[in-house]
Amino acid sequence: MSEAGHPNGSSPSTRTFRVYRYKRGDPGWRFDGFEVPVGARTTVLEALRWIQLHRDRTLALRHSCLHASCGTCGMQVNGREVLACVTPADTLGSTITVEPLANIPVLTDLVVDMRQLFERFPDEIGTVRTSDALAQASPPDGIETYERFEDCIECGLCLSACPVSATSDAYVGPAALAAAQRLLEEPRGVDPERVLDWADDPHGAWQCHAAFECTEACPSSVRPAERIMALRGALAGGRRTVATVMPA
Protein backbone atom coordinates (compact mmCIF):
# COMPACT_ATOMS: atom_id res chain seq x y z
CA MET A 1 0.00 0.00 0.00
CA SER A 2 1.34 3.34 -0.93
CA GLU A 3 0.16 6.84 -0.31
CA ALA A 4 0.95 10.25 -1.71
CA GLY A 5 3.58 10.42 -4.38
CA HIS A 6 3.28 6.87 -5.67
CA PRO A 7 5.21 6.68 -8.94
CA ASN A 8 2.31 5.02 -10.75
CA GLY A 9 -0.24 7.18 -9.04
CA SER A 10 -2.27 8.52 -11.93
CA SER A 11 -3.41 6.39 -14.87
CA PRO A 12 -5.94 3.71 -13.95
CA SER A 13 -5.96 0.38 -15.77
CA THR A 14 -8.90 -1.95 -16.18
CA ARG A 15 -9.06 -5.23 -14.27
CA THR A 16 -11.55 -8.05 -14.40
CA PHE A 17 -13.12 -8.83 -11.05
CA ARG A 18 -14.64 -12.31 -10.77
CA VAL A 19 -17.06 -11.93 -7.88
CA TYR A 20 -18.80 -14.77 -6.04
CA ARG A 21 -22.57 -14.32 -6.11
CA TYR A 22 -25.26 -16.10 -4.15
CA LYS A 23 -28.70 -15.01 -2.98
CA ARG A 24 -30.84 -17.00 -0.57
CA GLY A 25 -33.14 -19.16 -2.66
CA ASP A 26 -30.72 -19.45 -5.58
CA PRO A 27 -30.09 -23.05 -6.66
CA GLY A 28 -26.34 -22.46 -6.37
CA TRP A 29 -23.60 -19.90 -6.54
CA ARG A 30 -21.89 -18.35 -9.57
CA PHE A 31 -19.18 -15.89 -10.50
CA ASP A 32 -20.03 -12.55 -12.11
CA GLY A 33 -17.39 -10.67 -14.07
CA PHE A 34 -16.94 -6.89 -13.88
CA GLU A 35 -14.46 -4.63 -15.63
CA VAL A 36 -13.25 -2.12 -13.05
CA PRO A 37 -10.84 0.83 -13.41
CA VAL A 38 -8.05 0.45 -10.86
CA GLY A 39 -5.41 3.02 -9.91
CA ALA A 40 -2.24 2.53 -7.89
CA ARG A 41 -4.00 3.27 -4.61
CA THR A 42 -7.36 1.62 -5.32
CA THR A 43 -8.18 -0.99 -2.72
CA VAL A 44 -10.18 -4.13 -3.43
CA LEU A 45 -12.94 -2.66 -1.25
CA GLU A 46 -13.02 0.56 -3.29
CA ALA A 47 -13.24 -1.52 -6.47
CA LEU A 48 -16.15 -3.54 -5.06
CA ARG A 49 -17.90 -0.33 -3.93
CA TRP A 50 -17.43 1.00 -7.47
CA ILE A 51 -19.18 -2.12 -8.79
CA GLN A 52 -22.03 -1.51 -6.30
CA LEU A 53 -22.45 2.10 -7.31
CA HIS A 54 -21.94 1.84 -11.06
CA ARG A 55 -22.66 -1.73 -12.18
CA ASP A 56 -24.76 -3.78 -9.79
CA ARG A 57 -26.54 -2.35 -6.75
CA THR A 58 -27.53 -5.83 -5.59
CA LEU A 59 -23.95 -6.83 -4.74
CA ALA A 60 -23.80 -7.29 -0.96
CA LEU A 61 -20.63 -6.93 1.06
CA ARG A 62 -19.64 -5.87 4.55
CA HIS A 63 -17.49 -2.90 5.44
CA SER A 64 -17.39 -0.26 8.14
CA CYS A 65 -14.18 1.44 9.29
CA LEU A 66 -12.13 1.33 6.06
CA HIS A 67 -8.84 1.05 7.97
CA ALA A 68 -8.48 -2.52 9.24
CA SER A 69 -9.90 -1.76 12.67
CA CYS A 70 -13.42 -3.20 12.55
CA GLY A 71 -12.81 -6.51 10.79
CA THR A 72 -15.96 -6.54 8.66
CA CYS A 73 -14.48 -6.64 5.15
CA GLY A 74 -12.68 -9.97 5.41
CA MET A 75 -12.86 -12.02 2.21
CA GLN A 76 -10.78 -14.25 -0.02
CA VAL A 77 -9.01 -12.41 -2.80
CA ASN A 78 -7.22 -14.73 -5.22
CA GLY A 79 -7.59 -17.41 -2.58
CA ARG A 80 -5.92 -15.46 0.19
CA GLU A 81 -7.68 -14.14 3.28
CA VAL A 82 -7.49 -10.34 3.43
CA LEU A 83 -9.26 -7.26 4.68
CA ALA A 84 -10.40 -5.72 1.41
CA CYS A 85 -10.04 -2.18 2.77
CA VAL A 86 -6.25 -2.39 3.05
CA THR A 87 -5.56 -4.62 0.04
CA PRO A 88 -4.41 -2.74 -3.06
CA ALA A 89 -5.92 -4.14 -6.23
CA ASP A 90 -3.11 -2.90 -8.44
CA THR A 91 -0.70 -5.77 -7.74
CA LEU A 92 -3.22 -8.62 -7.96
CA GLY A 93 -3.06 -9.35 -11.69
CA SER A 94 -5.44 -8.77 -14.56
CA THR A 95 -8.15 -11.07 -13.21
CA ILE A 96 -8.98 -10.77 -9.54
CA THR A 97 -11.13 -13.45 -7.94
CA VAL A 98 -13.14 -12.37 -4.92
CA GLU A 99 -14.90 -14.92 -2.73
CA PRO A 100 -16.41 -14.88 0.76
CA LEU A 101 -14.42 -16.33 3.64
CA ALA A 102 -14.23 -20.12 3.79
CA ASN A 103 -15.47 -22.29 6.66
CA ILE A 104 -18.16 -19.79 7.73
CA PRO A 105 -21.66 -20.12 6.19
CA VAL A 106 -22.42 -17.58 3.48
CA LEU A 107 -25.37 -15.26 4.05
CA THR A 108 -25.28 -13.74 0.58
CA ASP A 109 -22.67 -12.79 -2.01
CA LEU A 110 -19.50 -11.83 -0.11
CA VAL A 111 -21.24 -11.72 3.27
CA VAL A 112 -20.68 -14.55 5.74
CA ASP A 113 -22.93 -15.14 8.74
CA MET A 114 -20.83 -13.83 11.63
CA ARG A 115 -23.13 -15.44 14.19
CA GLN A 116 -21.35 -18.65 13.28
CA LEU A 117 -18.02 -17.09 14.27
CA PHE A 118 -19.19 -15.56 17.54
CA GLU A 119 -20.85 -18.80 18.64
CA ARG A 120 -17.35 -20.26 18.93
CA PHE A 121 -15.87 -17.79 21.39
CA PRO A 122 -15.65 -18.51 25.11
CA ASP A 123 -18.38 -16.65 27.00
CA GLU A 124 -16.26 -14.05 28.74
CA ILE A 125 -13.97 -12.64 26.04
CA GLY A 126 -12.27 -9.41 27.01
CA THR A 127 -12.52 -6.22 24.99
CA VAL A 128 -10.29 -3.74 26.86
CA ARG A 129 -6.81 -4.70 28.07
CA THR A 130 -3.83 -3.07 29.70
CA SER A 131 -1.86 -1.05 27.16
CA ASP A 132 1.66 -2.34 26.63
CA ALA A 133 2.61 0.57 24.38
CA LEU A 134 4.95 3.31 25.64
CA ALA A 135 5.92 1.46 28.79
CA GLN A 136 7.98 4.50 29.86
CA ALA A 137 4.86 6.68 30.06
CA SER A 138 3.38 7.49 33.46
CA PRO A 139 -0.40 7.89 33.31
CA PRO A 140 -2.00 10.97 34.85
CA ASP A 141 -3.59 11.04 38.30
CA GLY A 142 -6.72 8.97 38.46
CA ILE A 143 -5.61 6.53 35.75
CA GLU A 144 -3.82 3.51 37.17
CA THR A 145 -2.59 2.05 33.89
CA TYR A 146 -3.28 3.04 30.33
CA GLU A 147 -5.65 0.67 28.63
CA ARG A 148 -6.41 -0.27 25.06
CA PHE A 149 -8.69 -2.52 23.03
CA GLU A 150 -7.74 -6.11 22.40
CA ASP A 151 -6.05 -6.64 19.04
CA CYS A 152 -8.55 -9.21 17.78
CA ILE A 153 -11.05 -7.55 15.47
CA GLU A 154 -13.21 -10.67 15.12
CA CYS A 155 -12.84 -10.68 11.35
CA GLY A 156 -12.80 -14.45 10.77
CA LEU A 157 -9.74 -14.46 8.48
CA CYS A 158 -7.99 -17.04 10.68
CA LEU A 159 -10.93 -19.41 10.62
CA SER A 160 -11.02 -19.24 6.83
CA ALA A 161 -7.26 -19.82 6.50
CA CYS A 162 -7.13 -22.73 8.97
CA PRO A 163 -6.61 -26.10 7.24
CA VAL A 164 -8.13 -27.95 10.19
CA SER A 165 -11.31 -25.87 10.15
CA ALA A 166 -11.52 -26.70 6.44
CA THR A 167 -12.42 -30.29 7.25
CA SER A 168 -13.85 -30.02 10.76
CA ASP A 169 -16.62 -27.66 11.79
CA ALA A 170 -16.39 -28.99 15.34
CA TYR A 171 -12.98 -27.36 15.86
CA VAL A 172 -13.53 -24.04 17.65
CA GLY A 173 -10.79 -22.45 15.58
CA PRO A 174 -7.94 -19.99 16.05
CA ALA A 175 -9.78 -16.76 17.00
CA ALA A 176 -11.62 -18.29 19.92
CA LEU A 177 -8.54 -20.11 21.24
CA ALA A 178 -6.42 -16.96 20.95
CA ALA A 179 -9.07 -15.07 22.92
CA ALA A 180 -8.89 -17.76 25.60
CA GLN A 181 -5.10 -17.44 25.81
CA ARG A 182 -5.46 -13.67 26.13
CA LEU A 183 -7.73 -14.30 29.12
CA LEU A 184 -5.01 -16.43 30.68
CA GLU A 185 -2.41 -13.73 30.06
CA GLU A 186 -4.70 -11.06 31.56
CA PRO A 187 -7.67 -12.65 33.36
CA ARG A 188 -9.50 -9.39 34.24
CA GLY A 189 -11.63 -11.14 36.82
CA VAL A 190 -12.19 -14.36 34.89
CA ASP A 191 -11.26 -17.66 36.55
CA PRO A 192 -8.35 -19.13 34.52
CA GLU A 193 -9.43 -22.66 35.42
CA ARG A 194 -12.70 -22.14 33.59
CA VAL A 195 -10.86 -20.93 30.51
CA LEU A 196 -8.48 -23.90 30.63
CA ASP A 197 -11.37 -26.34 31.06
CA TRP A 198 -13.01 -24.78 28.03
CA ALA A 199 -9.83 -25.08 25.93
CA ASP A 200 -8.90 -28.59 27.16
CA ASP A 201 -11.07 -30.39 24.64
CA PRO A 202 -10.46 -32.62 21.61
CA HIS A 203 -12.10 -29.87 19.53
CA GLY A 204 -10.31 -27.14 21.46
CA ALA A 205 -6.59 -26.47 21.77
CA TRP A 206 -5.69 -30.08 20.95
CA GLN A 207 -7.21 -30.11 17.46
CA CYS A 208 -4.78 -27.52 16.09
CA HIS A 209 -2.25 -29.04 13.66
CA ALA A 210 0.23 -26.17 13.88
CA ALA A 211 0.07 -25.01 10.26
CA PHE A 212 0.31 -21.38 11.46
CA GLU A 213 -1.87 -20.13 8.59
CA CYS A 214 -4.01 -18.22 11.11
CA THR A 215 -1.02 -16.15 12.16
CA GLU A 216 -0.14 -15.52 8.51
CA ALA A 217 -3.70 -14.38 7.78
CA CYS A 218 -4.26 -12.28 10.90
CA PRO A 219 -4.44 -8.56 9.96
CA SER A 220 -4.17 -7.39 13.55
CA SER A 221 -1.03 -9.06 15.01
CA VAL A 222 -2.97 -11.39 17.30
CA ARG A 223 -0.68 -14.34 16.43
CA PRO A 224 -3.40 -16.92 17.09
CA ALA A 225 -1.17 -19.93 16.38
CA GLU A 226 1.49 -18.90 18.86
CA ARG A 227 -1.26 -18.27 21.40
CA ILE A 228 -2.74 -21.74 20.83
CA MET A 229 0.73 -23.18 21.38
CA ALA A 230 1.10 -21.22 24.61
CA LEU A 231 -2.35 -22.42 25.68
CA ARG A 232 -1.27 -26.00 25.07
CA GLY A 233 1.89 -25.33 27.02
CA ALA A 234 -0.24 -24.29 30.00
CA LEU A 235 -2.41 -27.38 29.64
CA ALA A 236 0.55 -29.71 29.16
CA GLY A 237 2.49 -28.17 32.04
CA GLY A 238 -0.14 -28.96 34.62
CA ARG A 239 -1.75 -25.52 34.28
CA ARG A 240 0.93 -23.97 36.47
CA THR A 241 2.46 -21.36 34.19
CA VAL A 242 1.16 -19.39 31.25
CA ALA A 243 3.56 -18.04 28.66
CA THR A 244 2.83 -14.54 27.39
CA VAL A 245 2.95 -14.18 23.62
CA MET A 246 4.48 -10.87 22.63
CA PRO A 247 3.36 -8.94 19.57
CA ALA A 248 5.29 -9.72 16.38
Binding site: M1, R24, V128
Partner: protein
Amino acid sequence: MTRSAPRASRDAPHVLIVGGGGTGGALAHDLTLRGIRVTLVERGEFTSGTTGRHHGLLHSGARYAVNDRESAIECIEENAILRAICPGSFEENDGLFVALTDEDMEYYADFVEGCKACGIPIEELTPQEALRMEPQLNPELKAAVRVPDATMDAMRMPLRFFATAKHGGATLYNFMEVLDLVVEGGAVTGATVRDQVTGSEGDLHADLVVNATGPWSEKIARMAGVDVPISPSPGVMLALYGRLCNMVINRMHRSGDGDIVVPQRALSVVGTSSWTVEDPDELDVPEDHVTRMRAEGAKLIPAVAQAGFRAAWSAARPLIGSREADSGRELSRTFKTIDHADDGVEGFVTITGGKATTLRGMAELCGDVISRKLGVDRPSTTRTVTTLPHTAFYAKTERRLA
Protein backbone atom coordinates in the same frame (compact mmCIF):
# COMPACT_ATOMS: atom_id res chain seq x y z
CA MET B 1 -27.53 -5.71 34.49
CA THR B 2 -29.64 -4.98 31.51
CA ARG B 3 -33.17 -6.11 31.27
CA SER B 4 -35.04 -5.00 28.23
CA ALA B 5 -38.50 -3.54 28.42
CA PRO B 6 -41.37 -5.97 27.93
CA ARG B 7 -41.78 -6.73 24.27
CA ALA B 8 -44.05 -4.35 22.41
CA SER B 9 -47.61 -5.61 22.09
CA ARG B 10 -49.04 -6.40 18.67
CA ASP B 11 -51.19 -3.29 18.62
CA ALA B 12 -48.39 -0.93 19.69
CA PRO B 13 -47.53 1.73 17.11
CA HIS B 14 -44.95 0.67 14.55
CA VAL B 15 -42.01 2.79 13.45
CA LEU B 16 -39.82 2.10 10.43
CA ILE B 17 -36.31 3.51 10.77
CA VAL B 18 -34.36 4.02 7.57
CA GLY B 19 -30.62 3.96 8.19
CA GLY B 20 -28.49 1.59 10.25
CA GLY B 21 -25.84 3.93 11.55
CA GLY B 22 -25.28 4.96 15.14
CA THR B 23 -28.30 7.28 15.08
CA GLY B 24 -30.68 4.65 13.73
CA GLY B 25 -29.38 2.03 16.15
CA ALA B 26 -29.70 4.30 19.18
CA LEU B 27 -33.19 5.34 18.07
CA ALA B 28 -34.25 1.70 17.64
CA HIS B 29 -33.02 1.12 21.21
CA ASP B 30 -34.80 4.20 22.57
CA LEU B 31 -38.13 3.43 20.90
CA THR B 32 -38.01 -0.27 21.80
CA LEU B 33 -37.62 0.65 25.45
CA ARG B 34 -40.71 2.84 25.13
CA GLY B 35 -42.73 -0.16 23.98
CA ILE B 36 -42.89 0.94 20.36
CA ARG B 37 -42.57 -1.71 17.64
CA VAL B 38 -39.50 -1.00 15.54
CA THR B 39 -38.27 -2.19 12.17
CA LEU B 40 -34.94 -0.82 10.97
CA VAL B 41 -33.59 -1.15 7.46
CA GLU B 42 -30.03 -0.47 6.30
CA ARG B 43 -28.89 -0.87 2.70
CA GLY B 44 -25.47 -2.33 3.61
CA GLU B 45 -23.92 -3.70 6.76
CA PHE B 46 -24.83 -1.84 9.95
CA THR B 47 -22.49 1.13 10.61
CA SER B 48 -21.14 1.01 7.04
CA GLY B 49 -21.94 4.64 6.21
CA THR B 50 -20.43 7.37 8.34
CA THR B 51 -20.64 5.77 11.79
CA GLY B 52 -17.99 3.09 11.47
CA ARG B 53 -15.52 5.32 9.71
CA HIS B 54 -14.88 8.04 12.25
CA HIS B 55 -11.60 8.25 14.11
CA GLY B 56 -13.02 6.73 17.26
CA LEU B 57 -13.02 9.77 19.52
CA LEU B 58 -15.43 9.94 22.42
CA HIS B 59 -15.59 13.73 22.60
CA SER B 60 -15.15 15.53 25.89
CA GLY B 61 -16.65 18.51 24.11
CA ALA B 62 -13.47 20.54 24.52
CA ARG B 63 -13.04 20.73 20.73
CA TYR B 64 -16.25 22.79 20.57
CA ALA B 65 -15.92 24.70 23.85
CA VAL B 66 -14.97 28.00 22.21
CA ASN B 67 -17.03 28.17 19.03
CA ASP B 68 -19.95 25.79 19.46
CA ARG B 69 -20.90 25.58 23.13
CA GLU B 70 -24.22 23.87 22.44
CA SER B 71 -22.31 20.93 20.94
CA ALA B 72 -19.71 21.05 23.71
CA ILE B 73 -22.33 20.71 26.46
CA GLU B 74 -24.08 17.88 24.58
CA CYS B 75 -20.75 16.10 24.31
CA ILE B 76 -19.68 16.25 27.93
CA GLU B 77 -23.11 15.08 29.11
CA GLU B 78 -23.21 12.19 26.71
CA ASN B 79 -19.57 11.36 27.39
CA ALA B 80 -20.42 10.51 30.99
CA ILE B 81 -23.63 8.68 30.11
CA LEU B 82 -22.02 6.50 27.42
CA ARG B 83 -19.16 5.45 29.71
CA ALA B 84 -21.78 4.29 32.20
CA ILE B 85 -24.13 2.46 29.81
CA CYS B 86 -21.43 0.98 27.52
CA PRO B 87 -18.83 -0.38 29.95
CA GLY B 88 -15.85 -1.95 28.19
CA SER B 89 -16.40 -0.02 24.97
CA PHE B 90 -13.87 2.75 25.63
CA GLU B 91 -10.17 3.13 26.20
CA GLU B 92 -10.54 5.51 29.14
CA ASN B 93 -7.16 7.22 28.88
CA ASP B 94 -8.39 10.83 28.64
CA GLY B 95 -7.03 13.30 26.09
CA LEU B 96 -4.65 16.22 25.84
CA PHE B 97 -5.03 19.53 24.05
CA VAL B 98 -1.52 20.60 23.15
CA ALA B 99 -0.42 24.17 22.38
CA LEU B 100 2.57 24.31 20.04
CA THR B 101 2.82 27.92 18.90
CA ASP B 102 2.35 31.44 20.25
CA GLU B 103 -0.85 31.55 18.22
CA ASP B 104 -2.07 28.40 20.00
CA MET B 105 -1.24 30.06 23.33
CA GLU B 106 -3.47 33.00 22.41
CA TYR B 107 -6.31 30.47 22.13
CA TYR B 108 -5.42 28.93 25.51
CA ALA B 109 -7.33 31.35 27.74
CA ASP B 110 -10.49 31.15 25.63
CA PHE B 111 -10.18 27.38 25.60
CA VAL B 112 -9.87 27.03 29.36
CA GLU B 113 -12.71 29.47 29.94
CA GLY B 114 -14.88 27.71 27.37
CA CYS B 115 -14.32 24.31 28.94
CA LYS B 116 -15.19 25.66 32.38
CA ALA B 117 -18.32 27.36 31.06
CA CYS B 118 -19.45 24.09 29.47
CA GLY B 119 -18.76 21.99 32.56
CA ILE B 120 -15.84 20.08 31.02
CA PRO B 121 -13.40 19.09 33.78
CA ILE B 122 -9.85 20.01 32.80
CA GLU B 123 -6.37 19.92 34.26
CA GLU B 124 -3.77 22.44 33.10
CA LEU B 125 -0.36 20.84 32.62
CA THR B 126 3.20 21.99 32.15
CA PRO B 127 5.07 20.67 29.10
CA GLN B 128 7.09 18.38 31.41
CA GLU B 129 3.96 16.88 32.94
CA ALA B 130 2.44 16.31 29.52
CA LEU B 131 5.62 14.65 28.24
CA ARG B 132 5.66 12.27 31.19
CA MET B 133 2.15 11.15 30.24
CA GLU B 134 2.89 11.03 26.51
CA PRO B 135 6.62 10.70 25.81
CA GLN B 136 6.19 10.86 22.04
CA LEU B 137 4.67 14.35 22.08
CA ASN B 138 6.46 17.15 20.30
CA PRO B 139 8.98 18.24 22.98
CA GLU B 140 8.58 21.85 21.81
CA LEU B 141 5.03 22.02 23.23
CA LYS B 142 4.24 25.16 25.21
CA ALA B 143 1.37 23.90 27.33
CA ALA B 144 -1.20 21.15 27.53
CA VAL B 145 -4.64 20.67 29.03
CA ARG B 146 -6.00 17.29 30.04
CA VAL B 147 -9.64 16.62 29.13
CA PRO B 148 -11.93 13.59 29.54
CA ASP B 149 -11.70 12.40 25.94
CA ALA B 150 -11.64 8.65 25.29
CA THR B 151 -11.20 6.25 22.40
CA MET B 152 -14.12 4.16 21.24
CA ASP B 153 -14.47 1.38 18.72
CA ALA B 154 -16.46 3.19 16.06
CA MET B 155 -18.37 0.05 15.09
CA ARG B 156 -18.63 -1.94 18.31
CA MET B 157 -19.89 0.83 20.58
CA PRO B 158 -22.92 1.64 18.38
CA LEU B 159 -23.45 -2.08 17.80
CA ARG B 160 -24.38 -2.38 21.49
CA PHE B 161 -27.50 -0.29 20.82
CA PHE B 162 -28.42 -2.56 17.92
CA ALA B 163 -27.82 -5.61 20.12
CA THR B 164 -29.99 -4.30 22.93
CA ALA B 165 -32.79 -3.24 20.57
CA LYS B 166 -32.68 -6.61 18.81
CA HIS B 167 -32.96 -8.64 21.99
CA GLY B 168 -35.71 -6.25 23.11
CA GLY B 169 -37.77 -7.28 20.09
CA ALA B 170 -36.85 -4.81 17.35
CA THR B 171 -36.50 -6.20 13.84
CA LEU B 172 -33.23 -5.08 12.27
CA TYR B 173 -32.48 -5.72 8.61
CA ASN B 174 -29.09 -5.12 7.09
CA PHE B 175 -28.69 -5.42 3.30
CA MET B 176 -32.23 -4.02 2.89
CA GLU B 177 -32.24 -1.07 0.53
CA VAL B 178 -35.01 1.51 0.42
CA LEU B 179 -36.01 2.01 -3.22
CA ASP B 180 -38.78 4.50 -2.53
CA LEU B 181 -41.05 5.78 0.21
CA VAL B 182 -44.75 4.92 0.14
CA VAL B 183 -46.71 8.19 0.24
CA GLU B 184 -50.50 8.01 0.54
CA GLY B 185 -52.77 11.01 1.00
CA GLY B 186 -50.04 13.37 2.08
CA ALA B 187 -48.53 10.95 4.55
CA VAL B 188 -45.59 8.57 4.44
CA THR B 189 -46.94 5.11 5.28
CA GLY B 190 -43.96 2.90 4.57
CA ALA B 191 -41.12 2.12 2.22
CA THR B 192 -40.55 -0.02 -0.82
CA VAL B 193 -37.48 -2.10 -0.12
CA ARG B 194 -35.30 -4.69 -1.78
CA ASP B 195 -33.84 -7.46 0.36
CA GLN B 196 -30.33 -7.95 -1.03
CA VAL B 197 -30.02 -11.26 0.83
CA THR B 198 -32.98 -12.93 -0.87
CA GLY B 199 -33.49 -10.64 -3.85
CA SER B 200 -37.17 -10.08 -2.99
CA GLU B 201 -38.84 -6.66 -3.15
CA GLY B 202 -41.91 -5.32 -1.41
CA ASP B 203 -43.42 -2.69 0.86
CA LEU B 204 -42.89 -2.36 4.59
CA HIS B 205 -45.68 -0.35 6.23
CA ALA B 206 -45.48 1.65 9.42
CA ASP B 207 -47.32 4.28 11.41
CA LEU B 208 -44.29 6.50 11.10
CA VAL B 209 -41.10 6.47 9.04
CA VAL B 210 -37.87 7.94 10.38
CA ASN B 211 -35.13 9.10 8.07
CA ALA B 212 -31.89 8.45 9.96
CA THR B 213 -29.56 8.30 7.00
CA GLY B 214 -27.08 10.99 8.01
CA PRO B 215 -25.44 12.53 4.95
CA TRP B 216 -27.89 10.58 2.76
CA SER B 217 -30.93 12.11 4.47
CA GLU B 218 -31.59 14.56 1.68
CA LYS B 219 -31.76 11.71 -0.85
CA ILE B 220 -34.31 9.85 1.28
CA ALA B 221 -36.31 12.99 2.10
CA ARG B 222 -36.64 13.76 -1.58
CA MET B 223 -38.52 10.45 -2.00
CA ALA B 224 -41.27 12.04 0.14
CA GLY B 225 -41.03 15.32 -1.74
CA VAL B 226 -39.49 17.28 1.13
CA ASP B 227 -36.14 18.94 1.57
CA VAL B 228 -33.57 18.45 4.31
CA PRO B 229 -30.85 21.07 4.58
CA ILE B 230 -27.85 18.78 4.86
CA SER B 231 -24.26 19.22 3.76
CA PRO B 232 -22.38 15.97 3.31
CA SER B 233 -18.98 17.09 4.52
CA PRO B 234 -16.25 14.51 4.08
CA GLY B 235 -12.99 14.39 5.95
CA VAL B 236 -9.88 12.37 5.23
CA MET B 237 -8.31 10.21 7.92
CA LEU B 238 -5.00 8.41 7.93
CA ALA B 239 -4.22 5.22 9.88
CA LEU B 240 -0.58 4.57 10.70
CA TYR B 241 1.16 1.53 12.14
CA GLY B 242 2.22 1.86 15.75
CA ARG B 243 0.48 3.06 18.84
CA LEU B 244 2.16 6.44 19.16
CA CYS B 245 0.12 7.62 22.13
CA ASN B 246 -2.33 6.24 24.65
CA MET B 247 -4.32 9.42 25.24
CA VAL B 248 -6.16 11.28 22.49
CA ILE B 249 -3.85 14.07 21.32
CA ASN B 250 -5.56 17.25 20.05
CA ARG B 251 -4.07 20.49 18.79
CA MET B 252 -5.16 23.44 20.88
CA HIS B 253 -6.50 25.79 18.24
CA ARG B 254 -9.65 26.42 16.25
CA SER B 255 -10.64 23.29 14.30
CA GLY B 256 -8.22 22.63 11.51
CA ASP B 257 -6.77 19.86 9.37
CA GLY B 258 -4.72 17.11 10.94
CA ASP B 259 -5.23 18.36 14.47
CA ILE B 260 -5.97 15.09 16.23
CA VAL B 261 -4.21 11.76 16.76
CA VAL B 262 -6.37 8.96 18.15
CA PRO B 263 -4.74 5.67 19.19
CA GLN B 264 -6.71 2.63 18.04
CA ARG B 265 -5.47 -0.84 18.98
CA ALA B 266 -1.97 -1.01 17.45
CA LEU B 267 -2.70 1.85 15.05
CA SER B 268 -2.73 5.62 15.30
CA VAL B 269 -5.38 7.54 13.41
CA VAL B 270 -4.71 11.10 12.26
CA GLY B 271 -7.68 13.28 11.39
CA THR B 272 -9.09 15.12 9.68
CA SER B 273 -9.81 17.46 6.79
CA SER B 274 -13.12 18.92 5.74
CA TRP B 275 -14.86 19.89 2.54
CA THR B 276 -18.38 19.51 1.17
CA VAL B 277 -19.76 17.30 -1.60
CA GLU B 278 -23.08 16.76 -3.39
CA ASP B 279 -23.17 12.96 -3.24
CA PRO B 280 -21.97 11.15 -0.10
CA ASP B 281 -21.53 7.96 -2.14
CA GLU B 282 -18.81 9.46 -4.28
CA LEU B 283 -16.02 10.22 -1.83
CA ASP B 284 -12.47 10.33 -3.01
CA VAL B 285 -9.34 10.48 -0.87
CA PRO B 286 -7.38 13.49 -2.19
CA GLU B 287 -3.64 12.86 -2.09
CA ASP B 288 -2.89 16.34 -0.83
CA HIS B 289 -5.18 15.78 2.17
CA VAL B 290 -3.29 12.61 3.06
CA THR B 291 0.01 14.46 2.82
CA ARG B 292 -1.38 17.25 4.97
CA MET B 293 -2.64 14.83 7.64
CA ARG B 294 0.81 13.41 8.01
CA ALA B 295 2.54 16.79 8.06
CA GLU B 296 0.12 18.35 10.56
CA GLY B 297 -0.05 15.23 12.72
CA ALA B 298 3.75 15.16 12.90
CA LYS B 299 3.64 18.56 14.56
CA LEU B 300 1.78 16.98 17.47
CA ILE B 301 3.72 13.70 17.51
CA PRO B 302 6.93 13.79 15.43
CA ALA B 303 6.90 9.98 14.98
CA VAL B 304 3.83 10.42 12.75
CA ALA B 305 6.22 11.49 9.99
CA GLN B 306 7.94 8.08 9.82
CA ALA B 307 5.15 5.72 10.89
CA GLY B 308 4.19 3.05 8.36
CA PHE B 309 1.09 3.63 6.25
CA ARG B 310 -1.91 1.40 6.95
CA ALA B 311 -4.88 3.14 5.29
CA ALA B 312 -6.34 6.45 4.19
CA TRP B 313 -10.07 6.93 3.81
CA SER B 314 -12.90 9.45 3.75
CA ALA B 315 -16.11 9.69 5.72
CA ALA B 316 -18.96 12.13 5.20
CA ARG B 317 -20.23 14.06 8.20
CA PRO B 318 -23.91 14.99 8.09
CA LEU B 319 -23.70 18.71 8.78
CA ILE B 320 -26.86 20.73 9.11
CA GLY B 321 -26.89 23.74 6.86
CA SER B 322 -26.66 24.71 3.26
CA ARG B 323 -23.97 23.45 0.96
CA GLU B 324 -22.89 27.03 0.38
CA ALA B 325 -20.73 26.85 3.50
CA ASP B 326 -17.36 26.23 1.97
CA SER B 327 -15.40 23.79 4.08
CA GLY B 328 -18.09 22.63 6.46
CA ARG B 329 -16.09 23.80 9.48
CA GLU B 330 -18.45 26.75 10.03
CA LEU B 331 -21.43 24.46 10.54
CA SER B 332 -22.52 23.40 13.99
CA ARG B 333 -21.98 19.78 15.04
CA THR B 334 -25.28 19.69 16.88
CA PHE B 335 -28.26 17.69 15.67
CA LYS B 336 -31.81 18.28 14.61
CA THR B 337 -35.10 16.43 14.53
CA ILE B 338 -37.31 17.61 11.69
CA ASP B 339 -41.01 16.77 11.77
CA HIS B 340 -42.00 16.99 8.13
CA ALA B 341 -45.61 17.67 9.10
CA ASP B 342 -44.37 21.26 9.02
CA ASP B 343 -43.65 20.69 5.29
CA GLY B 344 -47.10 19.20 4.79
CA VAL B 345 -46.05 15.53 4.93
CA GLU B 346 -47.36 13.49 7.85
CA GLY B 347 -45.80 10.35 9.29
CA PHE B 348 -42.25 11.30 8.40
CA VAL B 349 -39.45 12.52 10.68
CA THR B 350 -35.81 13.19 9.88
CA ILE B 351 -33.09 12.97 12.52
CA THR B 352 -29.73 14.25 11.35
CA GLY B 353 -26.57 16.09 12.22
CA GLY B 354 -24.74 15.27 15.41
CA LYS B 355 -21.90 12.87 15.90
CA ALA B 356 -21.13 9.48 17.38
CA THR B 357 -20.63 10.87 20.88
CA THR B 358 -24.17 12.25 20.95
CA LEU B 359 -25.97 9.30 19.35
CA ARG B 360 -27.94 8.46 22.50
CA GLY B 361 -28.96 12.05 23.18
CA MET B 362 -30.09 12.48 19.58
CA ALA B 363 -32.16 9.34 19.86
CA GLU B 364 -33.75 10.47 23.11
CA LEU B 365 -34.91 13.82 21.73
CA CYS B 366 -36.06 12.29 18.45
CA GLY B 367 -37.82 9.58 20.46
CA ASP B 368 -39.67 12.30 22.37
CA VAL B 369 -40.92 13.84 19.11
CA ILE B 370 -41.97 10.44 17.76
CA SER B 371 -43.69 9.42 21.01
CA ARG B 372 -45.64 12.66 21.03
CA LYS B 373 -46.75 12.13 17.43
CA LEU B 374 -47.81 8.55 18.14
CA GLY B 375 -49.47 9.31 21.47
CA VAL B 376 -47.07 7.14 23.45
CA ASP B 377 -46.70 8.37 26.99
CA ARG B 378 -43.41 6.82 28.09
CA PRO B 379 -40.24 8.77 28.71
CA SER B 380 -36.85 7.66 27.44
CA THR B 381 -34.94 5.35 29.76
CA THR B 382 -31.74 5.07 27.74
CA ARG B 383 -29.76 7.23 30.16
CA THR B 384 -29.63 4.45 32.70
CA VAL B 385 -30.10 1.19 30.82
CA THR B 386 -26.80 -0.65 30.40
CA THR B 387 -26.50 -1.84 26.82
CA LEU B 388 -25.63 -5.42 25.92
CA PRO B 389 -22.05 -6.05 24.74
CA HIS B 390 -21.45 -5.98 21.00
CA THR B 391 -21.01 -9.76 20.93
CA ALA B 392 -24.66 -10.11 21.93
CA PHE B 393 -25.57 -8.62 18.57
CA TYR B 394 -24.36 -11.81 16.92
CA ALA B 395 -25.63 -14.18 19.60
CA LYS B 396 -28.92 -15.96 19.13
CA THR B 397 -29.74 -15.38 22.77
CA GLU B 398 -28.72 -12.88 25.43
CA ARG B 399 -26.33 -15.37 26.96
CA ARG B 400 -23.28 -13.11 26.75
CA LEU B 401 -23.88 -10.38 29.26
CA ALA B 402 -20.28 -9.75 30.37
